[in-house]
């Protein structure tokens, strides 16, 4: 890093020392001839790239993982249900029941797997796993409703998977509700409150909108925090840190040199995830691109500062990795609101979630990408992340050892 003093007032004056470097020690920290420092930093970064590029397996994981995770979440791990197999036990066998059955199977959510003929068969079909839900239409279905009386039908769902069961019965209820409404002229309807639901920012309730920010957060955390903490502790473990420390390289330069390649890598991963999210899954980016990238860069810095902090406290790659996984990755996945909504957590966990950087980053991402918000919407979250970054960097500078042990 070359340190060029910023002099706003009189740029020509060379002896200017910025306020933050007034203490003699601070000044010494940076006082190496700038030209030489540039060269040192660039060879350090080059060296770091050799390490990354020559470790093929890690490189493959680093570059392939984002794509795999996004595709995996996008196609396989989805809480939307499409084409669920259902069975219909139709006791009515009339015009109305036929139309409802057709309506159900015509929707993208359900596929009519098999006609059922008795309650016994329902049980058997569930046991065999051939259907996820059964619809039982009573005899004379539709006749009561036609006369303006409340009618009924039965939905039977597989409770071993509560999420799917709830989702399916909700879908079915909605379709049936629509169907009944169409059957009757409006004036005949009893006085009921019509709820008009509109899902803002994500009208289709697509889960992609949820997991793209989530996966991005996890990947950036992984690449930035875990990989840097491993890369720095590797130097300690192999013994090269000893040689670097005994050299005239200033310790901040060692850390910056190690970290820059991972910043680039993390940003490349961001690009891949955003591209896949928008092109393959139709995720919108309604906000400002520049703001989005700035926020990503900020979060990368937060994660890096955490990685550096971990590496200053550990001496082996294994410990650094375990520590990163346990202390960073798990909370990032579980407590950030990525998978489990924070609102439904017990209070202590809700409080803890506030110190998870990922939580704020996910909020920012959603605000910028989905709500199209600008700085006026996310400045609080941005400040929190910024504060965390400064805090972690200060902490790591304090605990970075200029000697062994």
């Amino acid at each position: 890093m070359s340190y060029v003093p910023m002099c706003l007032g009189n740029p020509g004056k060379k002896s200017y020392v910025p306020m933050c470097l007034k203490r003699k020690q601070d000044y010494k920290f940076f006082k190496i001839n700038p030209m030489g420092t540039n060269k040192k930093l660039s060879i350090f970064i080059r060296k770091e790239f050799y390490h990354i590029l020559r470790d093929r397996r890690t490189l493959l994981i680093l570059l392939g993982m984002p794509a795999v995770l996004v595709l995996l979440f996008g196609f396989a791990i989805s809480n939307e249900i499409k084409n669920a197999d259902i069975g219909v036990l139709d006791y009515a066998q009339n015009d109305q029941s036929q139309r409802l059955t057709q309506r159900l199977s015509a929707s993208e959510y359900f596929t009519l797997a098999l006609p059922l003929h008795s309650t016994q068969e329902i049980e058997e079909a569930f046991r065999a796993g051939s259907i996820k839900m059964a619809v039982v239409l009573p005899p004379k279905f539709g006749e009561e409703t036609a006369r303006g009386l409340p009618g009924s039908l039965q939905l039977i769902a597989d409770g071993t998977d509560p999420n799917t069961a709830t989702t399916l019965s909700n879908y079915a209820s909605a379709i049936i509700g629509d169907f009944l409404q169409e059957q009757q002229p409006l004036q005949q309807q009893p006085m009921v409150i019509q709820t008009e639901v509109r899902m803002l920012y994500n009208a289709g309730l697509k889960s992609v909108f949820m997991f793209v920010p989530g996966v991005m957060t996890v990947i950036l955390m992984l690449v930035s925090a875990m990989m840097t903490s491993i890369a720095i502790t590797r130097e300690k473990e192999v013994g090269t840190m000893e040689v670097l420390l005994a050299s005239p390289l200033p310790p901040p330069l060692i850390v910056i040199g190690k970290v820059i390649p991972y910043i680039l890598l993390a940003l490349a991963n961001t690009a891949v995830i955003l591209l896949l999210g928008t092109e393959v899954f139709g995720m919108p980016i309604r906000g400002n691109y520049a703001l989005l990238w700035l926020e990503c860069f900020l979060f990368v810095l937060t994660a890096l500062s955490l990685g550096i902090l971990i590496s200053t406290r550990t001496d082996s790659q294994q410990v650094a990795m375990l520590f990163s996984l346990m202390v960073l990755m798990l909370p990032t996945i579980l407590l950030s609101g990525f998978i489990f909504p924070i609102e439904s957590m017990p209070l202590p966990l809700q409080v803890i979630s506030n110190i998870i950087p990922a939580k704020w980053f996910i909020i920012i991402l959603k605000d910028v990408m989905l709500k199209g918000g600008g700085m006026e919407l996310v400045w609080q979250e941005t400040l929190i992340l910024l504060g965390m970054t400064v805090f972690f960097i200060a902490l790591s500078v304090r605990s970075f050892n200029i000697r062994l042990a």
């Binding site: 060879i43 350090f44 060296k47 050799y50 192999v238 013994g239 005994a246 050299s247």
Partner: protein, 299 residues
């Protein structure tokens, strides 16, 4: 060039250095001789500004290792005990890297490393991790030398290296000494002591003796015999029972026996015959550093 005053260092409750006082003159090839655990590495790391002593102080070229550590880091060449270069970088990349971080280039100081580097040159595109042990040490020495240090601190550079490479390594150190570089080198091999200008014998964190190798050897004042029989193991056991024996330890194919006072060889011969030894051979032995070491550590 190097001074230490009463250096002490403990790891937890285990003392590593118990008051080290050392003076190394400019341009000297100085050896720290001692077995594993003697405290050699700790001492060198303190001098290399990598460890802080609990007590005492040390200076390199009149610069304090704690206060002026930045200045020292610019002027020393340090080679740690285990191979500490980048195994996934080639020979040339390693050398370029270390030259650059010291603010110099290979060309600028090529003169200094030429003798060593010519041997490495055929392998310059090979990854450092794929070099033989001897080659690795030569490369590490090149990297430690590339910025023309005034002081070289070498921690057991010849450990785990084949005898031919060890020989070559010491020849290189002699040539560097001729270029007026002060060299502090530690080694557990006693036979390497004679290659130094002066040596310090170290054990259990203390210096037993500092002198020129010849003077140390000449200071040996006990009668010393080399004994050999058909059964060496039994021989050691029996000699340790022998009343006039002072120290007994295996030395190559012989057993070195030092005596508390002069004893006729015939007496020893008879003693060993009584104990049932065959093929007895007893001869006068020239003391070596190892004998001194056994003698000193006996006390």
């Amino acid at each position: 060039m190097i001074q230490t005053q009463n250096l002490r260092k403990s790891y937890g409750t285990t003392p590593a250095l118990r008051g080290i006082n050392l003076q190394v003159q400019p341009g000297e090839l100085f050896g720290l001789i001692g077995p594993d655990g003697a405290g050699k590495t700790t001492l060198i790391r303190i001098l290399a500004t990598l460890l802080l002593a609990d007590e005492g102080s040390a200076q390199l070229d009149h610069k304090d290792v704690v206060a002026d550590y930045r200045a020292i880091r610019r002027s020393i060449g340090y080679m740690p005990g285990r191979f500490s270069l980048y195994q996934d970088l080639t020979v040339e990349e390693n050398l370029t890297f270390f030259a650059t971080i010291f603010g110099t280039t290979i060309e600028e100081n090529y003169e200094l490393i030429r003798d060593i580097y010519v041997q490495l040159e055929p392998f310059k595109d090979r990854r450092a991790g794929k070099l033989s042990g001897g080659m690795k040490q030569k490369l590490a020495l090149c990297c430690a030398l590339i910025h023309k240090p005034t002081v070289l601190l070498l921690d057991e550079p010849t450990t785990g290296v084949d005898p031919v490479s060890r020989q070559e390594f010491w020849e290189m150190l002699q040539r560097l000494k001729a270029k007026n570089i002060t060299i502090l080198v530690s080694t557990p091999y006693m036979d390497e002591a004679s290659l130094c200008d002066r040596v310090a014998l170290m054990q259990d964190g203390a210096i037993l003796q500092v002198d020129e190798p010849d003077s140390i050897v000449n200071s040996y004042d006990k009668p010393l015999l080399a004994v050999k029989t058909a059964n060496i193991y039994q021989l050691i056991q029996d000699l340790r029972q022998f009343e006039p024996a002072h120290t007994v330890f295996p030395f190559g194919e012989y057993v070195h026996l030092s005596l508390k006072s002069v004893v006729w060889p015939e007496l020893i011969h008879g003693y060993l015959l009584d104990r049932g030894h065959a093929d007895i051979e007893i001869k006068q032995a020239m003391p070596t550093i190892e004998d001194i070491f056994m003698e000193k550590s006996q006390v």
